[in-house]
């Protein structure tokens, strides 16, 4: 069990540091690569754990439930981006985002959110970046 977690941790960590691919190609084509932040990321193990957990969720859990998020980038991608951009506050922002991810979000288009993107499987998604 421990060996499994170690191996998966190493695989996930290597991906976390260098590149983050979106969950779905339709979701967003943006690659969240920030060279400046990645230099400091190596020293911050706390954030690495968080990012690895997100990566784990995206690889093994998320595909099972399919594309259900109302936003683009999806909540896990948002969390990934928020933590990389804002550090610990990014975690708070992501929890708030999870609570905002409901059908009422479409009522707030053009008031709190500027734009939307069309997706094949889930109609339109509201664009909300951290």
């Amino acid at each position: 069990m421990i060996v499994f977690f170690l191996i998966s941790g190493i695989i996930l960590k290597s991906e976390v540091i260098y590149i983050e691919k979106p969950f779905d190609v339709n979701d967003t084509l943006e690659v969240y690569y920030d060279e400046h932040y990645d230099k400091t990321l190596k020293e911050n193990s706390g954030e690495l754990v968080f990012l690895s957990l997100i990566k784990f969720y995206q690889k093994f859990i998320s595909p099972a439930q399919g594309e259900v998020c109302n936003f683009s980038p999806s909540c896990s991608n948002y969390m990934f981006k928020a933590i990389r951009k804002h550090g610990p506050i990014g975690v708070l922002m992501s929890i708030d985002r999870l609570q905002r991810c409901n059908h009422a979000v479409r009522e707030y288009l053009y008031l709190y959110y500027d734009d939307y993107v069309l997706t094949k499987s889930r109609g339109y998604k509201i664009i909300d970046n951290p």
């Binding site: 929890i95 609570q99 905002r100 009422a104």
Partner: protein
């Protein structure tokens, strides 16, 4: 003799042709075909011997403004604003549409229209206290009144409400859907933790309690953020509303 005649005929023909072009440009403008109006106006400007530069440039600016190309419109109006009052008014409108309030504040308004635009710019820049009306102009006062109706939400109150009843802070900020959903994200793990406590399953109980705590903190942050962005979001909506309205202040000046 023949050459002189040909030149004369060509001149007369060209005059007729350009006169028609001007009318055609006006027709296209009235049809809201701004792309082709620009082409026609530039053709007149380039080909006629003594073009009405000020008027044509003002019209070109208006066309670009209507098309949504504010930068080019500003360039045209800026070029002639000191020599043409219409262009000066349009320059003010273009600056306002681009939210270049600082530039507006540095220019001395020359007429009532420009003064009114400056007042509205000051209003959106937060320079007027509530219920302060600097002019007696009806339209401006209407804009001021509607602007003052936009509520401001207190972040502290939102956090306090969310701390007492999760979701209430978002309700306070008119985000009912988010409030209901965030309330359920806290209520469900809270009930689950009580249930696991009742059946004496401690690991699951602690898990449910931590989940409740995480969502509770998220709810407090969400309430704070909702209150913080409430006024700027509604202010922006109102700004969009007035620039797309029929207020004469934001109607461009031009003549063909």
């Amino acid at each position: 003799m023949k050459k002189i005649l040909i030149i004369l005929i060509a001149m007369i023909l060209s005059n007729i042709l350009f006169a028609e072009n001007y009318e055609f440009a006006e027709f296209l403008f009235e049809e809201n075909d701004y792309y082709r109006t620009i082409t026609e106006l530039k053709k007149i400007y380039f080909m006629s011997e003594n073009p009405d530069t000020l008027n044509i440039k003002n019209l070109l600016g208006v066309c670009y403004l209507k098309k949504g190309d504010y930068r080019t419109a500003e360039m045209y109006f800026d070029e002639i604003k000191d020599r043409n009052e219409q262009a000066a008014n349009n320059y003010f409108i273009t600056l306002f549409l681009q939210k270049k309030f600082d530039v507006i504040f540095n220019i001395k308004p020359a007429n009532e229209k420009q003064t009114n635009i400056k007042f509205i710019a000051q209003l959106f820049n937060g320079e007027f206290k509530k219920c302060e009306f600097p002019t007696e102009n009806k339209e401006v006062n209407e804009i001021f009144t509607d602007y003052y109706k936009i509520k401001r939400k207190n972040s502290a109150i939102a956090i306090a409400l969310s701390a007492i009843i999760p979701g209430a802070g978002r309700f306070y900020c008119d985000r009912v859907g988010d409030g209901v959903f965030s309330f359920s994200t806290i209520l469900i793990p809270a009930i689950a933790s009580y249930f696991y406590y009742w059946i004496d399953n401690k690991p699951f109980m602690y898990g449910a309690i931590s989940l409740t705590g995480i969502f509770y903190i998220g709810e407090l942050y969400g309430a704070y953020n909702s209150a913080k962005i409430y006024f700027p979001a509604h202010e922006r909506m109102y700004y969009e509303e007035i620039i797309n309205s029929d207020y004469s202040i934001f109607i461009t000046d031009y003549s063909f």
